[in-house]
Symmetry: C2
Subunit: 344 residues, 2 copies
DNA sequence: CCCCTTTGTTAAATCGGATTAGCAAGTTGC
DNA sequence: GCAACTTGCTAATCCGATTTAACAAAGGGG
């Protein structure tokens, strides 16, 4: 049985002052006059007793719990998105805040009840996060609260969003290919996902493709074709096999995810083509497999850690939140899958 | 600005009773006599006003916050271990509890300060989790508290542990090979990790190997050799390549992790050997890649989701916790990498 | 010497509930 | 008809802090 916690009353008693004085001495407020002698005695007593304020009790009066709620659809499960949580956790720790993590699994009713559970515990603010970048409508319980949208957008909902800069990432993919000398024989595998079967495609696909096409065109290069397909390994394998079987001979593939790239690798390998000797590959996401594939995959990293961190930094900033979209850069991870275009 | 929360006083006023009566009516306690009429009026008023109790305020009196602290070294980051959190989250939600998730990143000082932050917020209990199964010494602040150790063991620390049943998993790997007809040409890649460079090997390696050898021997089979190496993809690739180069011709490989298996696949492929036609592979962990490799990998799943769930279920059980080790089964995921032994 | 500040401190109220102790009105027992 | 219960409810206190209001004591000015 844990011994009774030391309270401020204990500290005050030991220091020979009233609880009021102890409170002011400990909070270090200067608007209430406390003599240096008293202050020192209180601080000393607190140190000796190992006093720690009861945040719960304090919050009853101050309304602040130094606590943030984190509501997501299913973020812990997404293999690489755990980084979002780590980023949020670290930023929160630096500011002496704790995070209630919750997952509603896409269930609206569960989402509402979790938000209630958070509000019942007096969280100071709520981060509403999605595992893939997409449009959302937050539960009504969050209206009028201090909220930051993480990896999602909600037009009409008055809160800032933090999302990856997919547009610039598309441009960077194009720049990487141009820099290696590619001008033709370039194919995109995965496409816009204009009517997506894969939820993560909704926004990312469009923006990546838009940035890609813009810079390729400006650089005097041509996109030979766009293969629209889902974003998983079997899709990449199937579509690239089909592409080769149809007689096409791409010099560079822009795969919309690392999983698609893995499928592309398999298909190229089966066709006896080497990466990057015969075909260069540039990808998006930087999942774990990207570094492990042979050759290692050059890819534009989804900045999950930074997304989590930025959301917390934003929400703990003083002052009101502005409904602005914050775009976090997607760094290029240069590895071994891009080479000079093959002759022929 | 969110409008003022409805308090119990509001409900009492609307129902025309005292706060005391409202409190008893709402908590539904039967030891204090409240007339059915009053009870109904209070419940009705609460419903109409949308009253929700302030858990923080309540906890000041009751000491219970319906809140659990979760301290880990770096669990969100470990790609597949996020399932631990999901299991814990779901079990907690079913019981109307919320989780404070924290990560100390292996830093003892950070760990202490996080535990303090949790205790300052009056958590009812703490789950102390490790990303890999290993021996730990929890921070002294947790002594005498309600604690469950998750995926770790702490001899001398009075708390239950929840860990994967690695021993039985080793046995199951052996049984799977025996069932396919394997009796010889069996090699283990990864080994005991008696003096491990890879932290996850400390306990898992020993137990997996012990179970494996026990059942193989009992089944009249022989383990031709054990290759001691780290547990990552390059290690599997290197060691299996070396094994083949040395003239060995294994019929079955027991790879101690899926990452080692992936390396083994690469090495076998480069040598022109097929799985499972020439060589069967059985593995441990069931990371995401296991299902994606070609052929799909037969592996013993680390039950992360169940570990998280069990820990929460245990900690929320009434009554004192017993310092017992709970072993969670590792289910066999039968896929396509085990076949009959090759002739030869 | 008295009034007015300034300084240092504390009693008391507050936050939103839970809990203890007690009080009025109606019933029962004899 | 009065003590003893039972029923139904409420006043008051507590939980551990913060904050407001007020109050002594000391110093300064005239």
């Amino acid at each position: 049985m844990p011994e009774r916690r030391v309270t401020m009353a204990d500290v005050a008693r030991k220091a020979g002052v009233s609880p009021t004085t102890a409170s002011f001495a400990l909070s270090g407020r200067t608007d209430m006059r406390i003599s240096d002698a008293s202050r020192r005695r209180v601080l000393e007593a607190a140190r000796e007793l190992g006093y720690r304020p009861n945040v719960t009790a304090r919050s009853l009066r101050t309304k602040s719990t130094q606590t943030i709620g984190f509501v997501s659809d299913r973020i812990t499960t997404t293999p690489f998105a755990g980084e979002v949580i780590r980023g949020a956790l670290e930023a929160a720790r630096e500011r002496d805040h704790l995070l209630f993590i919750t997952e509603a699994g896409g269930d609206r009713a569960a989402e509402s009840s979790l938000v209630h559970a958070l509000l019942d515990r007096q969280v100071d603010a709520v981060i509403y996060a999605s595992m893939f970048t997409r449009y959302v409508t937050p539960p009504k319980e969050l209206f009028g609260r201090r909220v930051v949208l993480l990896n999602c957008l909600a037009p009409g909902f008055d809160a800032p969003s933090v999302v990856p800069d997919e547009l610039e990432a598309g441009r960077d993919a194009a720049r990487a290919l141009l820099a290696a000398g590619h001008r033709e024989g370039i194919w995109a595998i995965g496409g816009h996902q204009a009517v997506p079967a894969t939820p993560e495609g909704i926004i990312a696909g469009n923006e990546r493709m838009r940035g890609l096409e813009e810079v390729l065109r400006a650089g005097g290069a041509r996109l030979d074709g766009v293969v629209e397909c889902d974003w998983n390994t079997p899709d990449g394998h199937r579509e690239v096999s089909a592409l080769l079987a149809a007689g096409h001979r791409p010099r560079a593939l822009v795969c919309l995810t690392d999983r698609v790239s893995m499928g592309a690798y398999q298909a190229l390998g089966e066709a006896g083509l080497s990466v990057p000797g015969d075909v260069s590959v540039v990808s998006f996401d930087d999942q774990d497999i990207a570094a492990v594939l042979r050759p290692a995959l050059t890819t534009l990293k989804l900045p999950h850690y930074q997304l989590g961190r930025r959301a917390v930094e934003l929400i703990l900033r003083k002052g009101p939140l502005e409904a602005v979209v914050h775009r976090v850069p997607m760094p290029l991870r240069e590895r071994a899958s891009i080479g000079a275009p093959a002759e022929g």
